[in-house]
Amino acid sequence: MAWFKRESGELDTSGEKKVRTEGLWVKCESCRQIIWKKDLEDNMNVCPKCDKHFRIDARTRLAQLLDDNQYETFDGNISSTDPLKFVDLMPYSSRLKQAQKDTGLKDAIINSQGKLLGRPVVASVMEYAFIGGSMGAVVGEAITRAVERAADTRMPLIIVSASGGARMMEGVISLMQLAKISAALARLDEAKVPFISLLTDPTTGGVTASFAMLGDLNIAEPGALIGFAGPRVIEQTIRQKLPEGFQRSEFLLKHGMLDAVVPRLEMKAYISTALKFFVD
């Protein structure tokens, strides 16, 4: 029998250690291995040990998808009017300012035009770090403009989703963005310009229930949470625990909602090959 025993489970070492190693090392939240941060970055922020796909910001995504990290951005000047003057624990206007400061973006989206393995494309990428990638009037307008740009220029459209859904703080205005973007996608569909929807962790709510599910191809990164209702809402409704892997990419693939689950390291080549089929 031991003289001493640990009473409160495992030691929490995650926070402290990061500080001591000055951010050179990160712990994989999936396999709990310690990874040298540069190794992780060289591997497109995919854990080299267990293939866990870490969340990445919109700029990193663009750098991974578009040739030589070269692209033009558009529609970055539009910003929210806080139409409802919404206040929760803090005013929405302060939340916006904080998010703008943290991300350097006006809202949760970057519209861009660049080349993907030599082919010009319009890429619209959501920024999850900006109020959970939520979609209000600005994100709705920006994505609609990206769709229209693709239709006008006949450049293929790629939308990368990472979002909790519609932005509550803009109320029903946010909801109407689903209809606005979907209507624009109907036109793009008629113009026969390809649209690849890439769903990343997490994509839920009104974003899934509109453009993210309307691609000519809907593809997702491995292990991404994708759904209409959030897991907590479902658990509250049915009052039982959800099965392992529920609403993950592989679950959606199995149920016929995705064309493919594509690892990040193969993403660019996958999209390029698909676009070749549609366009050339």
């Binding site: 109407m176 009104g206 993210a212 209409f228 149920h255």
Partner: protein, 281 residues
Amino acid sequence: MDSDANVAVPVEEAAEAHPAWRRVQLARHPKRPHSLDYIQRLVTDFQEIHGDRNFGDDPAIVAGLGQFEGRAVMWVAEQKGRDTKQKLYRNFGMPKPEGYRKALRAMQLAAKFGRPIITLLDTPGAYPGIDAEERGQAEAIARNLREMARLPVPVVVVCIGEGGSGGALALGVGNTVLMLENAVYSVISPESCASIIYRDSGKAEQAAAALRLAAEDLLSLGLIDGIVPEPPGGAQEDPAAAAEFLRGHLVLRLDELAGMSGDQLVNHRYAKFRKMGNFFA
């Protein structure tokens, strides 16, 4: 479910403190007319059609052919139940993917034969359950949004009670969108909103006010085209009168759209939704 508990609070008492909350309670009132109550009063030769030709038939959505004031109209409506048995049968008015797919099938059938469509919205939201997710709730809603946008026939939408987020909007892409005076239309239920922002679903009254979900709010935000008045005290006080008000507005709105070609209707609908949402540029 939640709504039943809330209705127990005396309407007048809550109303004084929170006018928006009164609307929520009226919109969920246990005696408020549901879709079939209006359809029975307004439509002749109604023939309900069933099934999505794929998985099943969803009783939370009613679709059917009918004659309305001299016109053949396709009706597509979300349906709540009145008593416990009916509520369970209608799944509390929360449609599943097969419901949205049935709705789309009905609307495309109308388009094929050049018939106008009237949809009635009344749902707490699309059903959030395991089976709904497995069968692609999000995909079903998304597809409806895109396909409704290009229906080459007049589409008139009326929110008659609860406009529960994407679950309502999936039948809501119309040339004309109306709300009954005491209906509400929201991106999230006040209870869910309160549990997110105040960590307390009991503060739904405050959330209701913050969300601007009443008919006048949507009208002033430019998101709907008109408000259909209800009898004094709300539609539940005189369902027949409420149906007559609705009849008048529907005739007017269908007349407005009657002269437009398919392309004009599609462009009109596009232009309407395209301008929704203000921003600083």
